[in-house]
């Protein structure tokens, strides 16, 4: 009997040892909620935070049939944030637990990854539109950080490829609103500037500076302690050929009637060791402007002039300001409430061979949309071009958003309506016409030059609108669409349906019919049996 007991004990021990193997990944007990998608040049990317993987979707059309390639790529430990590069080729992911930033080359077949040590719990990424830098900062909302310097900015310089380490700079204020200025030449020297906005001041981060005292320049917007200015936007005014040593930043503040101009010039004083000199200027810009833009205009005498366009936040007005002289002109808008949205675009003048800048302005509370021709406005002693300054267009319902078609059709736009109003409106800005598309409530629209696509909130249909002729065709879908995408190669339409496992219908744009389309389900569970369990 003793030998039997011994055998049983040995077996029991062996079983216990064997049982200490793998544990299920805790992501299995949480609801499936991948973050995204991020549309990139070669694919659409979702981030599965629980399993620490990217889900890369690459829709294709082969032999007129819809196909979908799904790849799962490992990120580092606890990915918290992802941003595409400006070119759309690379994806940046912050791996919080490892304190690294991963750069994924989504364009390559194998999706290569390189890591940068960032040595900090950053959770925000600001991407340079030129692709030269990445900035990392803190949102201030990190739940488990023990110590956090919310004023610090991590700078990753990509000009020599992906670096091993980053440079850290501390700004005088919290760095939660960083905006890259476009590259420019100031008196022959290349400049790259980033502006951080904070209460009562902005900071200018000079990415090309070599000395510590040049790296961060502080620019207070007021010296009075009673003021509380909250800058909301920064607009860049590049040097012109007439004045190559003069660039400026226009700072918009929501509660002020003025726009602050910070002039940047190379420092010329002998006792000034810094390379940039900052001087300040205030421009009267109407009545609490909430949107501004710098417009380069061709006036009638062929000169190129710069004007600052400011949209009032309190009244239905706009102002046009000559930045050099400070003179301004204010116009009323043909609406009863202040305008919320504006779109600046260029358009061929009908009947003439020149291209003119236009500004489309709309309010969510008004059915009237205004198209402004800034080149027809005289500020000071200009000679403006002839013609009407403001053209009105009346829509059938108030617009919640206007999307410009862009590309081949800069004079077409689509206005979406909301708040229970049905339909959408196609605007022909050149002819000052619009077509009302009734009978549905498109919850999302995607535009590609000549064509717009929309899905419905309540039925399982897809609509295609020809923006030139107004022709509308509707197509069936297997289920109600939840969101709509144009594939990165622009050859197919993707509709995402409700369904926690990830359900997509892919339709080739050439036909949009079930014969060529395919429904892909369980997309977020691709290769689910091959997911890693966790070693105990």
């Amino acid at each position: 009997m003793r030998s039997i007991r011994r055998i049983l004990v040995m077996v029991a021990v062996a079983l216990i040892v064997a049982g200490c193997g793998k544990e299920p990944n805790p992501g299995w007990d949480e609801p499936l909620e991948p973050v995204g998608p991020v549309m990139m040049e070669h694919g659409m990317v979702y981030l599965d935070q629980a399993f620490e993987e990217l889900i890369v979707l690459r829709p294709q059309v082969e032999d007129e049939q819809a196909q979908l390639e799904i790849d799962r790529v490992e990120t580092g430990a606890l990915p918290v944030q992802m941003e595409p590069s400006a070119s759309g080729r690379s994806l940046y992911v912050i791996n919080r637990d490892e304190q690294t930033l991963s750069v994924f080359d989504i364009g390559s077949e194998d999706i290569e990854r390189s890591d940068v040590d960032i040595d900090g719990v950053y959770d925000q990424i600001t991407v340079d539109p030129e692709g030269e830098f990445i900035l990392l900062s803190h949102s201030g909302n990190a739940p488990d950080a023990i110590v956090q310097n919310v004023n610090e900015v991590g700078i990753i310089d990509l000009r020599g490829g992906v670096p091993q380490q980053i440079e850290v700079v501390t700004l005088p204020t919290q760095a939660d609103n960083l905006k890259f200025m476009p590259p420019f030449q100031l008196d022959g020297t290349s400049e790259r500037l980033v502006v951080a906005m904070a209460t009562n001041e902005v900071s200018v981060l000079d990415l090309n500076a070599t000395e510590d005292y040049d790296r961060v320049r502080r620019a207070p917007l007021t010296i009075s302690q009673a003021d509380e200015l909250e800058p909301t936007d920064v607009v860049f005014n590049p040097p012109s050929s007439e004045r190559p040593d003069h660039a400026s930043l226009f700072i918009l503040d929501a509660s002020s009637d003025d726009v602050t101009e910070i002039v940047l010039q190379p420092s010329t004083r002998e006792d000034e060791h810094r390379r940039l000199a900052l001087t300040f200027n205030q421009l009267a810009a109407g009545n609490q402007p909430h949107r501004i833009a710098v417009l380069e205009l061709n006036l009638d005498d062929e000169r190129r002039t710069k004007r600052l366009f400011a949209l009032d936040g309190q009244q239905p007005q706009f102002s046009l300001i000559d930045v050099d002289s400070g003179e301004s002109v204010t116009f009323d808008l043909p609406m009863s409430s202040p305008a919320d949205g504006m779109e600046v675009f260029s358009m061929e003048v009908p009947g003439e061979s020149r291209v003119e800048k236009r500004v489309l302005v709309y309010s969510r509370d008004s059915e009237l949309v205004a198209m402004i021709r800034p080149e027809s406005i005289a500020v000071g002693s200009d000679t403006p071009t002839l013609g009407r300054t403001i053209e009105e267009m009346r829509l059938s319902a108030t617009p919640s958003q206007i999307i410009m078609a862009g590309g081949a059709n800069p004079d077409r736009a689509v206005a979406l309506h909301s708040g229970g109003q049905e339909g959408a409106t196609v605007l022909n800005l050149a002819a000052n016409q619009n077509w009302w598309l009734s009978g549905f409530n498109p919850s999302q629209m995607v535009l590609d030059g000549r064509t717009a696509y929309g899905i419905f909130g309540n039925t399982s249909h897809l609509v295609r609108v020809n923006l030139e002729s107004g022709q509308t065709t509707s197509f069936e879908l297997p289920d109600r669409g939840r969101s709509l995408f144009l594939s990165p190669d622009k050859e197919s339409i993707l509709v995402r349906h409700d369904g926690v496992d990830g359900r997509f219908t892919i339709l080739p744009r050439a036909t949009l019919l079930p014969d060529n389309a395919r429904l892909f389900e369980h997309v977020f569970l691709h290769g689910v049996l091959d997911y890693e369990a966790i070693d105990e």
């Binding site: 030998s3 039997i4 055998i7 077996v11 062996a14 079983l15 064997a18 049982g19 193997g21 793998k22 544990e23 299920p24 990944n25 299995w28 007990d29 949480e30 609801p31 499936l32 979908l68 069936e476 297997p478 369904g499 926690v500 496992d501 219908t505 079930p514 014969d515 389309a517 395919r518 429904l519 892909f520 389900e521 369980h522 569970l525 691709h526 290769g527 689910v528 049996l529 091959d530 997911y531 890693e532 369990a533």
Partner: protein, 245 residues
């Protein structure tokens, strides 16, 4: 290929193989001396594997095995040897992703092999070894919001196990009647099984019609769920009955 038909065909042929094996053993015994025994066992137990796919889908809980049936033949010529044919099934159900996904896995095994018992601790309790090899048929179903995808897999499986067999009622305890030919007992086996890779890379929608028709013109793409390597530990507890010729 219609998966259900394929399943039925495999089961049919496997059953035929088992019956053929048993018939062959009986024929062989007819030509030898008396005291051959026929054997019947019902068993249940569990199967535990460390494969990631299994662990993620099910957790560290073993799948339940059973009920299983073993038919055997003990030739008197070789003491302790028993030729067996075995049918077993393993299965589990699980909810994943906060109950958003239901997973259903099942495996049916048809195997042939041999047991060997040695009377070292006396006649009543004997250490036993079992070796068997055969065919395994798996099916995997994933269901989210009443939409189900299913795939099946065919593979080879082998198992090796060791343990104890105990006779509770011996045929020699009764003098006459049917009970003088029957013995009853129990066994407990711990073992390990190996299986060829099971890939479920073309799971198909169970809601779509075979061919797109007017009601449902949409084609569903096959879903690739990956593969599992289901090697793992087995524990089986069995109730045995022997009939002596």
């Amino acid at each position: 290929m219609n998966k259900a038909n394929q399943e039925m065909t495999m089961m049919y042929w496997s059953l035929k193989a088992v019956i053929g094996f048993v018939a062959f053993a009986l024929v062989m015994s007819a030509s030898t001396a008396f005291a051959d025994q026929a054997y019947l066992e019902f068993h249940g137990g569990s199967f535990d594997t460390a494969d990631s796919g299994y662990v993620n889908m099910i957790g560290d809980e073993p799948a339940s095995t059973g009920p299983g049936v073993v038919l055997g033949f003990e030739p008197a010529a070789i003491d302790g040897l028993r030729l067996i044919a075995l049918y077993g099934s393993d299965h589990f159900n699980e909810n994943r992703f906060a109950r958003e996904l239901t997973v259903e896995w099942g495996r049916q095994r048809v195997m042939a092999g041999a047991d060997y018992r040695l009377a070292v601790i006396g006649d009543r309790v004997k250490p036993m070894a079992r070796l068997a090899f055969g065919y395994a048929y798996q099916s995997l179903g994933l269901e989210a919001e009443s939409r189900e995808y299913r795939d099946t897999n065919h593979g080879l499986i082998g198992t090796a196990a060791g343990g104890l067999e105990a006779t509770i009622f011996d045929s020699s305890q009764a003098d006459t009647g049917i009970l003088s030919h029957l013995s009853f007992g129990v066994n407990l086996l711990f073992g390990y099984s190996w299986q060829t890779e099971a890939s479920f890379d073309s799971m198909q929608s169970q809601d779509a019609p075979e061919e797109p028709d007017d009601d449902d013109p949409w084609r569903r793409a096959d879903y690739d769920a990956g593969s599992m390597h289901l090697h793992g530990m087995t524990i089986n507890f069995g109730l045995m009955m022997q009939y002596q010729f």
